[in-house]
Symmetry: D3
Subunit: 209 residues, 6 copies
């Protein structure tokens, strides 16, 4: 039937477009190199529903010094996010635990409280913006801001995080300052911390120098 002509046209058009489109989706081929805009696209022929679903957004193990765990669903975990400007992570903090000061250079973060009470905040040179949050609350941390989350309630606290990038980055301040081999004197000079404090934390966080 002649309908096939135009359908075929649109289907081929769409198929060709879908095959080519950077606008519909571009599931990441994580084996190929990265580019500033994201990974190469897997061929459409290899794409299935599973490419758009991430399993494993489950509670992490909080039995550690921070009493906290972070389970990420970034593009490297979930290739279907490639080029789509969004990602997620799950935060579990045991009673008394916290996620220490950190930044996401590449993204704004949304924190949705699922369970418990989390006191969270971000810092600017002139002010700290901080609240005690409960289920029903959402807090936003603008891109690049230094921020923290602390379980200030009873029992476990859980939050779901969303980011405005497929690959937000996660930089923990203590690792930046104390886990590498920048000389302790230089760390002290550029942070105004006591040299003894620096050496003590370098020992704790695996740094040298």
């Amino acid at each position: 039937m002649k309908i096939i002509h135009i359908l075929l046209l649109f289907t081929l058009l769409s198929f060709t477009i879908s095959h080519a489109s950077v606008n519909d989706f571009c599931v990441a081929d994580l084996k190929a190199p990265d580019t500033p805009s994201g990974y190469h696209c897997k061929p459409l022929a290899n794409i299935t529903s599973d490419d758009f679903v991430f399993h494993g957004f489950v509670a992490g193990d909080t039995k550690n010094s921070f009493n906290a765990a972070l389970t990420s669903a970034f593009v490297t975990d979930f290739p279907g996010l490639n080029g789509l400007g969004i990602s997620a992570a799950r935060l579990d903090i045991a009673e008394g635990g916290s996620i220490p000061m950190h930044t996401h250079p590449g993204a704004t973060e949304l924190l949705i409280i699922v369970q418990g009470e989390i006191t969270a905040g971000f810092l600017t040179p002139t002010a700290v913006f901080s609240k005690a949050l409960k289920p029903g609350d959402i807090m936003v941390f603008p891109q690049g801001m230094l921020h923290f989350q602390v379980n200030t309630g009873k029992g476990q606290a859980t939050g779901f995080l969303a980011f405005s990038s497929a690959n937000p980055g996660a930089q923990l301040l203590d690792l930046l300052l104390f886990s590498n081999n920048l000389p302790s004197e230089l760390v002290a000079q550029t942070t105004f911390l006591d040299l003894a404090q620096v050496k003590k934390l370098k020992a704790r966080f695996g740094g040298r120098g």
Copy 2:
């Protein structure tokens, strides 16, 4: 102490920058007109921690024909999101209910399953990408794709949504086609639906013509 000089320099610099920066944050002044990049920024002097927190991310009332409810945290609900490229919504679907076919012209959507089972999917001209999702699962719906969510489990299903825009838009297909005054014959001609079907749904969804 002389430290005040440089501190003052950095503080003033930072304060001036923060006051001016479109890069730190720009809490929306919803009373002023919109622009293509977002709302005007409230003056820094008026900004408090409360601008970065949204309360009310709670279950909506699902006692309606769809047996579903959507609670939004978009920039118009949560002015702190202005210009930050992210927003959220909460989805509650009672047993047997669904969110009908819809698109977000302005954003990619992430669905994080919180409770129950939701079968969700998006459509392309050549394929449907669809999965039954349970807690621990996340699904991504690329920007502009027509998609749906159906409660295919027992009891209530809940999901948290994140969007790659502060104002993703939400366009329900039935409202687009049947709730306005586009003449029924024209709707039928451009959708290949039977005229009787169009008239029936126009009556249901409040359209005229």
Copy 3:
């Protein structure tokens, strides 16, 4: 002459830059994988004037059920458009024909009327924006909006389309709903269409289920 030195500097500089520049142009290598920002660039040495010209922007064959034809000049047809944020298509609608409801998830569309009369419009949940257009008229359809074009005049109608993306996508609503294997019951549930209507259109548009 010493002028050669500086000319050579600028030429080499420009040549090196042109060879490398993502800012001048990046003619698509359609044989290599896509990335979120577009295709890989063909080497400059292989670029000729022909890479920047598309032939074949001619009337399509409208003898089909829609009585319409779409001739595309997207990046996959015209590699010189790669990364440049623009593309085109030609629309021919025979008398009484139409382009059914469709969206371009990735781009805004401009319709320039060349011949005849086309009634076109796009839909929002609260309003339909629609006009009868004649030569001398241009209409804009913002990105992602569901829209249609109908020949409401005598004889053939022709329009030239421009898009704000090199690869706008084209998603015909009937193909999205009725040409795949999403179960008819699910389509009915999520569109409020009668099951019989769904089955009838699935048969027409080649869907199963």
Copy 4:
């Protein structure tokens, strides 16, 4: 009927979103100041179908020294384009006429030949990319490139132009060099043109100095 609840929810949601959305559309309020992303949005209540249609895309008067005319449909002519990344213009060149060398700093240009023959091209430091174009041909001029169009056929030539910006700018080289008050000696020094040539063209194009 309870359907009203959810419909009302979606309608209000959509209405609120549409009212607020920078993502659906933002018809320009040309009386208010501009911003880097575009004009302020007219209130939704004032938007009609006419905001999305431009009339007057008609042949210009080519009886002038260039034997050419340009009719623009940029955002300042067509406020509905605001923030949408696209605009258009119509080019009419009488026999023997031309559009002299010019650039669009803000956009890539597509030229669709409608009638006649136009030889068009753009320049790079190492090459000129140029073709004689006929109806059925499209040529792309990447953003910022110096380019020209000449009627090299019989009778009038007409082209439709599309741009990858709502406000592409249009800078004619002769106006840049010869219509202002930059001293002739400085123009000569920085272009290597003979002083006499500069003075002659300044006289022609209304410059002083």
Copy 5:
């Protein structure tokens, strides 16, 4: 002369476009509110050459505790930068001085060494990238990275900085951690610093709590 017609057309076109263009330039009206894309544009009629020139890019006074000074040319200092994605600052560090650890959430930084020797570096969780730099050297600090500059030579060191944003922000780590009223115990908990260290630095940097 008829030339006036087309010249007038282009001039008016250009003038109108220039008046309206967000693409040519948009000198900031710093008295009006900010938007996510930048400030409102001053009317073209009020624009002079002085809007595009910044005076005062001179050595700052380094007689302070850091023995360093920063002189900024950001959009708030230099309104002509508005919307143009670039800004600058001048860095002067006396012998033995340094700019302590800081970030620019909104921009990548380039450091061009003008005089003396500056050891500079940025930190990632897994590595520090750091070099001793001399005149002839440029170093890049990607957006949002924590970085420092230390004068490790004889006499004064000077560098010119460029940023990939008109308003990069400047956040000094010590001010973020120690100059506000976040409770000392919370700072200690989220940084693993000793409480005594925190209190000591809060006293130094003007914080309370």
Copy 6:
């Protein structure tokens, strides 16, 4: 110690993210093809501090016809800039020399005067914005504008340039018009230059035709 667990988590997370991140940095692999967003990223394992430092930002040789030299630090010279939206160049102009009219299609330029006096300006169809600049002055040239720099002082003049793109392009007007094989008659027709002037400059700048 259990701290290793969470540290390892963050380190691996960060390492994985850094390895993958398009948001931290993406040092260019110049041997692989380019894409619209930039070059492919070198593997993190191959990245050292040297990737973020450019040597050779030194005075160029001004003994040529222009009496000027340009030393570039663009991404093709300095791969660490890839995807970061910034680059630099150094300008040296001997007494009486100049950089002739040119554009950077891809970037806004900042000129920081280091030594001597440079008169610089950019042209629009309606005005020239031009100033005599001395050390302490910065001038901005918006993207795509035709501009020039002339040494109007005594002795050598030096400036440092920054660009809002990693690959701004550099197009010298005389090379565009006179160094290729566009027929002289066509150049004359589209610039209103005398044919003799065109031929003379083609001879000077190596063009044919």
